[in-house]
Structure formats: C-alpha cells, structure tokens
C-alpha cells in the first residue's frame, strides 16, 4: 500500500504517472551557478533531480546544501543522495533532520563508492551504518518519530527514503535477496543502476514485480562514443547495445564539432526514446532516471520526444 506522499516525486508515483528524474553533480566548488543551471534545464521535464553525494568518493560540495540550493533557487525538487561512507549514525541522523527542516522530501540511501576510489584516498571509510540500516533509521524517524535508540523527535521528518538496485548484478540472486531486505524494512522507492539493455531491464523488473516498490530505471545518455565505450569496458555487467555503439562510433568520426554534437543528440534521442517508450508500454516501471551528467541539454528534447511519440 502506498504511503502518504510528502514529495512531488512520490505524489506523481502514487498517481501512477510515469516519472522522470534527473541527476545533478555538485563539484569541488563553492559556486552554485552550475548546479542551478543544470536544475533549470530539468524544470518541466523531470519531477525531481538526484543530487549526488561525493560520487566516486571525491570531496565535493555537500549534497545536502546543494539539494537545498536547487530547491530554493529553481523550485526543482531534490532527491538528496546520502552515503553512509562519510558519516556515522549521529551525523546521518543530524543530516536527515536538517534535510527535513530545509524542505527536502526525498533521500536516496547509498553505501557510496569506497574511499579507495577517492581523490583523497587516504580517507577513513565510516560505514557505521550500511545503506539498509540507513533506510531503517529514516523509516523509524518518519513512522515512529524516534531515533535509533527510541528517543522521541520533536516534529518528526516527513520525507521518503529510496534505495538503489542493480539489474546488472552477477550473480543476481544475492542482489535480489538484498533488495528483498530493504523493501521489507520500508524503502519507498528504488532507483536502479544504469542499464542499456531492454531484455535485462525487463527481466529485472519482472523480479521486482513481487515487491510493492516503485522502480525508476536508470539510464545514461552518452554524450560521446567515448562515454559509451567507457561503460562497456569499465562498468561490470553493463553492456551497451552494439547498434547504438556503432552509430555513436560513426558520429565520432564527424569532423565538424557542431554537426557531431547534433548527431550524438539525434542518436541518443532515438535510442532512449525507444527504450523509455518500451518501458512505459510493456513494464511496470514507475519511471526513468536520466543521468545526463554534463549532458543536461538532452533532457528537454528527449522527454519531449518521449511524450510526443507516446501520446
């Protein structure tokens, strides 16, 4: 049974609208200009945007602060990503209360890329809680108005807690059992890792059918052939379809920069429109998470094209 919706994202999901979420990556800066511009590029096309929390363990602007800034400056709703890697339970709890006080209504619980990948690799990884235990902590705060020790919270937070799922996991069974755990603890929604293959996506969503959790499928438009090639070669389990790769490769040979970028856009819009339309038509996916990092210009034409062609 769907819980009361505190956020626009959850409201749209509960209304069975096919949702789009975007991705915003604060960097090593104090200048909020860029994240504001990226958020604006999603306005009207995504119901909410994830704000990444030190991705690849790199020390960037706080995702809590960035989430607040984009909500305040643009009205774009944030999905505040919160990693258990950098904070113990005290800091996590403080940030959850702080987020709620700042009007943030969605949190995505993540374990976070390990500190050995960091731009400060000497950092101590915390992992006092794991991502499932963070879901548990937030659930307790929201539903019972209590902290982990059962101490009461004055005016408990009203927000949703999301989890990640990996359709590319191999072996898949332990991943499914893990998902089972987190759903039972009470995650409100799931966003998946990047997936390019429709068959894999469908079989994962079929598995998810047994759970009462909305699943938002992760996609990653490829700004260049190099990006797609990187996914193929470096992200385990991710396989970029060869026809899409071939088209991107061909586009990479176009000499004129503007024409090349335009061709990349066309290829991505075509591929992801088909992908998303298929998702909408044949699966129970609650939506699509478009990780157009550094490629936010694609969000508008892509979503418009999906809407136009699915109408």
């Amino acid at each position: 049974m769907a819980r009361e919706a505190y956020s626009q994202l959850m409201k749209a999901i509960n209304e069975k609208k096919f949702v789009f979420t975007g991705e915003i990556e604060p960097l090593k800066t104090t200048d909020p200009h860029e994240i504001i511009e990226v958020a604006k590029a999603h306005l009207g096309y995504a119901v909410a945007c994830n704000v990444t929390d030190n991705p690849k363990s790199c020390a960037y602007m706080s995702s809590l602060v960035a989430s607040y800034i984009i909500q305040k400056e643009t009205g774009m709703e944030a999905v505040y990503q919160l990693c258990v890697r950098d904070r113990n339970r005290l800091a996590l709890f403080s940030d959850v209360l702080g987020a709620a006080a700042l009007g943030i209504r969605n949190i995505l619980s993540l374990s976070g890329d390990h500190t050995t990948f960091s731009d400060n690799p000497g950092a101590k990884p915390v992992y006092d809680l794991d991502s499932a235990q963070l879901v548990y902590m937030v659930r307790k705060a929201v539903d019972e108005g209590k902290d982990l020790m059962g101490l009461p919270i004055e005016r408990p937070p009203k927000l949703h807690i999301g989890m990640a799922g990996n359709p590319n996991a191999d072996p898949l069974e332990p991943e499914l059992l893990k998902i089972d755990r987190k759903v039972k603890i009470g995650a409100d929604f799931m966003q998946t890792q990047v997936v390019f293959e429709m068959d894999r996506t469908k079989s994962f969503l079929k598995e998810m059918g047994r759970y009462d959790i909305p699943v938002i499928v992760g996609t990653f438009p490829c700004k260049s052939y190099g990006v797609a090639d990187f996914f193929n070669k470096n992200i385990p389990g991710v396989s970029v379809p060869s026809d899409f790769m071939d088209k991107l490769k061909k586009a990479s040979e176009i000499k004129d920069k503007v024409a090349r970028a335009s061709r990349y856009d066309e290829i991505n819009i075509e591929f992801f429109t088909d992908f998303i339309r298929e998702l909408k038509k044949t699966t129970h996916a609650a939506g699509c998470h478009i990780m157009a990092v550094g490629y936010e210009r694609l969000v508008k034409p892509l979503v418009e094209n999906v809407q136009r062609t699915s109408a």
């Binding site: 390990h114 992992y127 794991d130 996991a169 755990r181 987190k182 603890i185």
Partner: protein, 223 residues
Amino acid sequence: MIVMRQKPLEEILNSLGDAESVLIVGCDGCAGIYQVGGQKQAEMMEALLEIGKKLRQKKDLKVKPLTLLRQCDLRMVATGLRPLIEDYQAVLSLACGVGVQTIAQVFEDKIVVPANDTKFIGMEDRELGNLYEYCRACGDCVLYETGGICPVARCAKSIKNGPCGGQAKGKCEVGNYTRDCAWVLIWESLKKKGRLDSFAKFRPPEDRAEKAQPGEIKSGAEG
C-alpha cells in the same frame, strides 16, 4: 594469528637513532610462526644492524639477539629480559604491537622500537604463501549467521546487509575485482547449507559502544 610485516630497514635505523647498544627481542608466538620475528629473524636483524652500522658510519654498536616465548605476556617479558636488558639502551622488538607495548610498560626507561608493522588477524594459505585478514576482533561474532565468512573483516565496507553494488562476478570493486566479494561468499556458503533465510535477514545497526573504548577483560569477569 596476528600478521606482521617488517618495516623498511631505514625506518628501523632512524628510530634507533644514536643508540649504541640494542637488544633485539624476537617472539616465538605469531611473529615466530609467520617467520617475521622468531629467533632466526632476530639473528638476521643482528646482521642487518651491523650493515646499518657501517652504512651510517657508527663507531660502536653492541647488539644481541634473543627470543621470548610470547612478548604479549607481562611476566614472560619481565623475567625473560631482566637483568640482561640493563646493558642496553634500546630494545628492538620483533613482535606485534602488543609485544612492543608490553616491553615498554615493563621497562619504562628503555627506548623500545618496533621492527614490524602489525597488519591484521589473519589466515595463512601456505600453498600460495598468502595471508588474508579474517577477523577484526569486533567483539560481536556473526559467523554463525554468515556461513563462516566474516563480513566485518572480509567486506571492504564491513557492512552487515550486503552485498553492495560494487560486486561483479563475485569479485569486489575495491582492489579492482581481484578479491572475492565477502557477501557473495556468504550467499554461496549459506545456500550450500540450505540457510538462505539467514542471508535474507535484516541486521539492525550494531552496538559499537564496547569497541568505542579500549578493550579490557578483568580477572574473573565473564564477558
């Protein structure tokens, strides 16, 4: 067993500084078994310090190697080193960090230098000659629940509700997919035992209060 690795000689020499007499103290416990700090290594260290003496153009350096049965035993350290230790300015311990501290505690006026870095509590695979961390001494053993594989020591994130998203084909992304993902091993182990219910179980946040302070078990205490 406690696993150690010898420090670079240069670091040892730097720590010994101007000491003109050094008592090299090996340990027949873990250090001896792993051949990083037994009698043989104590004698080898004597030779190394002789070389170091020449390299650093020291005039005099009196060195003597010996080995104790266990450097982590207060009484063995006290009786084993007294009165010999009085003739030496510095002690070079070839034991783990516990051995170094035990000597330092008994002989407060001596400079005690560790020859090793204490790495972890581990298992040795003699065929491969490899050592693996298997226990973090967390004080709250879950090995029954996890099929005999410790997620605290063997998962890079030490999580209790794994696997995380960083495994591929059963390998962990930390270390570039060369190590096994502990949670895939746990899944395989519990599956073989028909105990996947234990895998699927949610483990709530653990109480870390005990490990947040120095460990101590008093005589006669149960815990």
